[in-house]
């Protein structure tokens, strides 16, 4: 077992384990994760990573999708500010993430569940530390269970009437 484990003190977990979806940028953080692997650094298997070319590609709906589909948290990692492979994609990610966290907080999603971090391709250790920190944070917060908590809060929209119905209604208007 790695020396720094995470503790599942929060009883809400039961037999479940935290699930975190990671969005790693191709040039920096993905390579940092590779380096962590090459260096055989151990970290919790809570992170399930997805590769994108740049954190600038990160559509906020990806994070929402991940949380909806059962993840307890989302970790977005990119190049350090000023070192983005595509010049400034990570700055755009910063803005989007800030807004996303605020918005989701209004839905009851704790902002710590969505994290934005930086690691350069040479920082395997930093990558590992970030995964540990994130896992511990999620472990403390407990499972998200979007469908049982958040979905219930959003009233279901009525079904959209068909185009023919609308046209008919308009002509009788």
């Amino acid at each position: 077992m790695p020396k720094r484990d995470y503790s599942l003190d929060n009883p809400a977990w039961g037999t479940r384990r935290p699930v975190i979806v990671g969005f790693l940028c191709n040039w920096c953080s993905y390579r940092a994760a590779d380096l962590a692997g090459i260096s055989r650094m151990g970290y919790p298997s809570t992170l399930r990573d997805i590769r994108i070319m740049c954190t600038g590609r990160l559509d906020p709906t990806f994070v929402i999708k991940a949380l909806r589909e059962g993840a307890d948290g989302a970790l977005v990692m990119g190049c350090h500010p000023g070192q983005c492979h595509y010049d400034a994609g990570n700055y755009k990610a910063m803005r989007r993430m800030a807004l996303l966290r605020r918005t989701l907080a209004q839905f009851g999603v704790h902002p710590d569940r969505i994290q934005l971090a930086w690691a350069s391709a040479a920082q395997g250790t930093l990558f590992t530390e970030t995964v540990f920190k994130m896992t511990n944070a999620i472990a403390r917060l407990g499972p998200l269970e979007w469908h049982d908590t958040i979905d219930e809060l959003v009233p279901r929209a009525p079904a959209m009437p068909s185009a023919e119905t609308l046209v008919e209604e308009a002509s009788h208007g």
């Binding site: 970290y43 298997s45 997805i50 994108i52 590609r57 999708k65 589909e69 010049d87 469908h147």
Partner: protein, 675 residues
């Protein structure tokens, strides 16, 4: 549409199989929807492994392939080629990284590692189904090259390319090429005269039929992509008509305006307003420094014009702005010396006889301000003792953490030359003596034999505040001698500070201008620190020399040649493939909101007035996807990283925790309204 996906789980010897249940994984993968076949094999990247894939594509009619193995950074190209050989478009392939991201990092538990591998494979399988076939597009390589920076690295790169028969523009900011090496006196470890070995190369550059030398010039803007760069260059006006000038020197001999030469003489000597930087300058033409020229400041004088025998002075000459079309760019912009005023206890600038290493080079140089004599700032006294302080601004948490690689050798060189010319006592204050390259250690031993004194300790203070007799009128070096374990105060006449090699002050700007990355300090970022030190992440732009990191002359020369070789490879190929990972705007659905236009760091999105839509220039787009994420109508396709493929991948990795609604997310495009 039904796809036939082949999934291949690699054992990678024990690397994966030791921690992940590869057979179980492969069996499990075969149960996933659309998976036609799932196999496991010891070494997928071997020729037998690849043949396995090719065979299945041909015989089973596979339409997609997933290999669960190492990182795509290792073998994505390998397997893409395998697919292509078997007739499957190479972009219909996906890798699941179950080695670096699973087996190697979750060694504590086979169950955890296998579960993680399952989620990654599941993600890859869902994603690969959504991928579309793509074709890379080919671009021609313009065989002309631009080399920016006329120091030893740039000169070498230019000569190599030019000798291979191709045209080169060599651009230099200063009026002459030569760089810092032209300022040095002798070079270590051979003690060759720097000018003697440099000037033949400078001469070659100046006379080479394939090299167009553009000095006193700067790059203003760079557009384009590998093989096709458009570079806007400003050639500053020398105020000399170079067709008429013979380089005779009458003009600068007669010029009455004298200023301190901050560039070439490092602030230690003077020059006139119209000047040639040094006698062996290439090109030989002088330049007028408008800020110190009496004519430009007050409207009088014009002595140079009066005395010029060929009438080559042209006060009205204007800057010229040119556009160069080149295929490749080599950046060899060099370094700048650390300003020791940042370390106030060393007294540089306050205490007269504290010198920087560059000032001291000029002092040693026979054509320098003292004619090669080692003397104090008063211009006449010879020092009887000299202190050389290592690591000024290097290996220092407060300034630069790195080691500047060259200063130990340069310090030894100075020690030798001081002893040779003055017989003075020389003290070196060092942390470690770093003499790692060929014949360097032997040079160090030579200095030990010559009687140079070495004190291991970082200098705390250089002061003229005398405390005891013997210190009056001297500069006192206060240091803890860590070998003796005592504080020492050593009075000397002269101190030389070995400053750090830092990036140019405007290096970050330069990096942005050329579209490459640099570290926070400003050293340009290489593609791979071990295996690719001269390429950058931007195809077609290469780096060489001290601008990539502190290094000595042999390494700079080597890198210059390496960059030239890379350029020649591209020129030799004639055409290169550009990856089709790009953005594509669906113009029929674009509402012309233009949110994407300014987000692109490459200016690759144009707005077309008629019909009022935005359009991506595929040659400039580098595929970052920022515009794709920003489009409020979601009508920009990020090729190979589409919305659908990523959404599918998210569902895939969360296969075991998805809440029971089981529905996939599809983006339904509303039907277009008739115009």
């Amino acid at each position: 549409m039904d796809e036939k996906i082949g999934v291949y789980v690699c054992h990678c010897g024990h690397n994966i199989a030791g921690t992940v249940d590869v057979e179980g994984l492969s069996k499990w993968a075969s149960t996933l929807p659309d998976v036609a076949v799932a196999r496991d094999y010891r070494f997928m990247c071997s020729s037998l492994g690849q043949e396995l894939v090719e065979k299945d594509i041909k015989e089973l009619g596979l339409t997609r392939v997933v290999v669960a193995a190492c990182s795509p950074h290792m073998h994505e190209p390998t397997f893409r080629r395998a697919c292509e050989r078997a007739g499957l478009n190479r972009y219909l392939f996906e890798m699941a990284n179950i080695r670096e991201h699973a087996s190697w990092v979750h060694q504590h538990s086979i169950e955890s590692a296998t579960d993680k591998a399952k989620s990654l494979v599941s993600g890859a399988v869902r994603r690969v189904k959504e991928l579309k076939p793509l074709e890379p597009f080919m671009v021609d390589i313009n065989p002309t090259t631009l080399v920016v920076g006329g120091g030893i690295a740039g000169i070498n790169a230019a000569l190599e390319i030019a000798n291979a028969g191709h045209a080169v523009y060599l651009l230099e900011r200063e009026p002459s090429i030569g760089g810092h090496m032209a300022q040095f006196d002798k070079t270590f470890p051979t003690l060759d005269c720097a000018a003697c070995i440099l000037t033949p190369k400078m001469f070659d550059v100046g006379n080479h039929p394939n090299i167009t030398l553009m000095t006193y010039s700067e790059v203003e803007q760079v557009d384009g992509y590998v093989g096709n760069f458009k570079v806007r260059v400003r050639q500053k006006a020398r105020k000399i008509n170079t067709d008429l000038c013979t380089g005779c020197g009458d003009c600068w001999e007669k010029c009455p305006a004298k200023v301190v030469d901050q560039v070439y003489e490092a602030g230690l000597g003077y020059r006139t307003a119209i000047y040639r930087p040094f006698p062996q300058a290439v090109p030989k033409y002088p330049v007028i420094d408008m800020e110190s020229c009496i004519y430009y400041q007050k409207g009088t004088c014009k002595a140079c014009e009066k005395f010029c025998p060929t009438g080559a002075i042209d006060f009205e000459q204007e800057d010229k702005v040119l556009e160069l079309n080149v295929g490749n760019i080599v950046l060899a912009t060099g370094y700048e010396l650390f300003d020791p005023r940042r370390i106030s206890p060393y007294g540089y600038g306050r205490l007269a006889n504290v010198f920087t290493s560059l000032e001291f080079e000029r002092m040693l140089n026979a054509s320098g301000p003292t004619g090669g004599k080692v003397i104090l700032r008063d211009g006449e006294t010879q020092p009887k003792s000299v202190a050389i302080v290592h690591c000024v601004g290097s290996r220092d948490k407060n300034h630069n953490v790195y080691c500047s690689a060259t200063c130990c050798m340069a310090a030894l060189k100075f020690g030798h030359l001081v002893k040779e010319r003055t017989g003075a006592e020389v003290y070196s204050f060092y942390i470690d003596i770093r003499t790692s390259a060929k014949n360097y250690e032997e040079f160090y031993h030579r200095l030990l034999d010559e009687g140079m004194n070495f004190v291991r300790g970082r200098v705390a203070e250089i002061t003229d505040a005398a405390r005891q007799p013997g210190e009056e009128g001297k500069l006192v070096v206060q240091v803890e001698d860590t070998l003796l374990g005592k504080q020492r105060r050593i009075p000397v006449d002269m101190v030389i500070l070995m400053g750090a090699m830092e990036p140019r002050r405007d290096a970050v700007d330069t990096a942005h201008r050329f579209g490459i990355g640099c570290s926070e300090a400003g050293f340009f970022t290489e593609k791979h620190p071990k295996l690719d030190p001269v390429a950058t992440m931007t195809d077609g732009v290469f780096i060489a020399g001290a601008c990539q990191g502190p290094k000595d002359i042999p390494d700079s020369v080597g890198q210059g040649a390496a960059a030239a070789a890379r350029v020649l490879t591209l020129i030799g190929q004639g055409r290169v493939e550009i990856e089709p990972v790009r953005a594509n705007i669906d113009e029929a659905r674009c509402s012309g909101c233009r949110i994407c236009n300014n987000l692109c760091p490459y200016g690759a999105i144009d707005f077309i007035e008629e019909p009022g839509v935005s359009r991506v220039n595929p040659a400039l787009c580098k595929g970052c996807g920022t515009c794709v994420a920003a489009c409020p109508s979601q009508i920009i396709t990020g090729q190979h990283f589409t919305f659908e493929s990523i959404m599918a991948q998210i569902e895939g990795v969360l296969f075991d925790v998805r809440a029971g609604n089981g529905q996939s997310h599809t983006v339904e495009q509303l039907p277009l309204e008739p115009a």
